[in-house]
């Protein structure tokens, strides 16, 4: 009996899965058909099979992995620096009047600056190598992280602070024992917001200034009119984005098991 129940369930799950992806399947099949029949110019839309072929080819030849490694390295180092600075500045400006007085207006003004527009500036200052990309990623990711850390710290329930106080926690220990853990969800949210920004900046920088990486691979596809390479690079970017998003989520789930 148990068997039949689980089989019934599996079937149900299968049907649900089918419902949720049938539209994608239709579109993919249409893509292949339309491209194979030549209804759309090859350069605009090469058949899906060609794109996948190119993807496999680029991956096997190592170009794709190499590019992905470059991109990830730049995005990660920048994001990491932004996390360190952003969390410190954010938490301090919520807890310390002087820091808050100094940074609040700067954050208000700095946050809406489209950092992407600084790419030419950074090419000028730091050249076009890895450093300028990493620094710009750090600058771009700093704002959301700092703002979220600040707001999360400000929003810590006063009763929690009072609870700790009455049980004998000193001012200094308060930060570690209460403020940081209580603000952790907000801080992580800031990092989650910053992650796609780090990728955006890296990609655009690679497209504009070259130096390898997935962005360069993609724009090279455009420059040499190899549209399958463009699509394949986007597949890779999608996978990278997906993996990073999942990764952050699972870190969050593990770290914030209590939420």
């Amino acid at each position: 009996m148990g068997v039949s129940v689980s089989r019934g369930l599996d079937r149900e799950r299968l049907v649900d899965f089918g419902k949720s992806v049938y539209s994608l399947v239709i579109v993919l099949v249409l893509w292949e058909l339309v491209a194979q029949l030549g209804l759309i110019h090859y350069y605009f839309l090469p058949p899906l099979s060609d794109v996948l072929g190119t993807f496999v080819e680029l991956t096997l030849s190592g170009r794709m992995l190499n590019a992905a490694w470059l991109t990830l390295q730049r995005a990660f180092v920048g994001l990491f620096v932004a996390c360190a600075l952003g969390v410190v500045v954010g938490v301090l400006s919520a807890r310390n009047r002087l820091v808050s007085w100094f940074f609040d207006p700067i954050i208000t003004i700095g946050y809406p600056v489209p950092v992407i527009s600084l790419i030419p500036v950074f090419m000028l200052w730091f050249g076009i190598g890895d450093v300028s990309k990493m620094v710009l990623v750090a600058v771009g990711c700093f704002w959301p992280i700092a703002i979220n850390a600040r707001n999360a710290t400000r929003g810590v329930d006063e009763n929690l602070v009072w609870s700790a106080r009455m049980m004998g926690t000193s001012d200094r220990r308060l930060l570690w024992k209460v403020i940081l853990p209580a603000a952790a969800p907000g801080i992580l949210t800031g990092i989650q917001i910053a992650m796609p920004i780090s990728l955006i900046i890296t990609f655009v920088f690679e497209m504009v200034a070259g130096g390898g990486g997935l962005g360069a691979l993609e724009i090279q596809g455009v420059r040499s009119f190899e549209s399958p390479q463009v699509y394949a690079a986007i597949f890779a970017i999608m996978l990278v984005g997906y993996a990073l998003d999942r990764g952050l989520r699972s870190i969050r789930d593990r770290l914030l098991e209590w939420t």
Binding site: H41, Y42, Y43, F44, M123, L124, G127, I128, G129, A209, G210, G211, Q220, V222, R223, S224, F225, E226, S227
Partner: protein, 316 residues
């Protein structure tokens, strides 16, 4: 957001160029020069725009945003091969030639006191290039191979915009850079060393930059193109006959120092560009070489993708 200028009954031709002054077609962006085009305004209207790279121009052509564009060896070759523009494209005029013995050819410069003085010294160095996979990049690749240096592994290419080459060489971010005519003026005045030039690389001159149009535009607006071809020929003649005036007009219009433009335009420091008609033989040779160097998969018959029929007969 179609900002059709003028309009009237005549068709509008969209033209995209990349480098001011160096691309002769860019002169058409200057109103005073447009006044010299007799058919313009009657037989056709013209919309001129500037792009940051030739692939951008090709994509604009593919999307139907412009009808013709200035291209260079590799962008033309790969566009034809990949049929990047639906219905493909045809070259309708030459813009300039590279490696002509009596004219400027792409030259690689290093700093005046640098120990990089000849091709062999480039091994293991950082080389400035505007963009990989272009005809300019091909000059490097061809010469390095001749000198037994592997362009993939033995040197490091650094992509930089041309205007920042000089400062990049000066503060050592790259060891050498390849200069087009417009920027070479500055390199010379800084006292940079020429390491090698395309004349050392190619045995013979070859057409490097071209005016190309999409076949569908040529079909739809053939009368307009005919009239444009005549005007284009006329403008080139006008430029040669009134050099000084054109130099100051161009400098003013593109906001460049007049001395800079005067330092090369239509002198022996400029490319060879007297004849805008297409030389099929040399073009075929250039395309074969691009295939040889691996910039395109295989060569093709240029007769099918180039035509002189829009240019008036006779020399200029």
């Amino acid at each position: 957001l179609g900002l059709g200028l003028g309009g009237g009954g005549s068709s509008t031709l969209g033209l995209a160029f990349t480098v001011p002054v160096e691309n002769l077609g860019s002169l058409l962006d200057i109103p005073e020069i447009q006044d010299q085009a007799g058919n313009l305004g009657d037989a056709y209207q013209l919309e001129v725009s500037q792009n940051s790279s030739t692939p951008d121009s090709l994509n604009q052509m593919a999307a139907g945003e412009v009808d013709m564009a200035l291209l260079t060896t590799v962008s033309y070759a790969s566009a034809v091969q990949q049929e990047a523009v639906p219905g493909n494209i045809s070259m309708i005029a030459t813009d300039f030639w590279d490696a002509h013995p009596e004219h400027y050819g792409f030259t690689i410069y290093s700093k005046g006191d640098s120990d990089v003085t000849e091709v062999a010294d480039l091994e293991g160095k950082k080389l400035g290039v505007n963009s990989l996979g272009t005809g300019i990049h091909a000059v490097y690749v061809k010469r390095l191979r001749q000198a037994d240096i592997d362009p993939e592994n033995d040197v490091q290419f650094v992509e930089l915009p041309f205007p920042s080459f000089t400062s990049a060489i000066k503060d050592g971010r790259v060891d050498a850079g390849i200069y087009p005519a417009l920027f070479a003026v500055q390199a010379r005045s800084e006292g940079f060393n020429p390491v090698f030039s395309s004349q050392d690389t190619w045995d013979e001159e070859y057409p490097f930059a071209y005016m190309a149009a999409s076949n569908s535009s040529l079909d739809e607006k053939s009368d307009a193109f005919q009239a444009f071809g005549e005007d284009y020929r006329g403008i080139v003649d006008y430029a040669f006959n009134n050099r000084d005036e054109v130099v100051s007009l161009a400098a003013e219009h593109f906001e460049l120092p007049e001395s800079l433009v005067d330092g090369f335009f239509l002198t022996e420091q400029d490319y060879y560009r007297e004849d805008v008609r297409i030389d099929f033989e040399r073009l075929q040779a250039a395309m074969d070489e691009m295939a040889n160097l691996g910039f395109i998969d295989e060569s093709f018959d240029v007769q099918q993708f180039a035509t002189n029929e829009y240019l008036p007969q006779g020399s200029s």
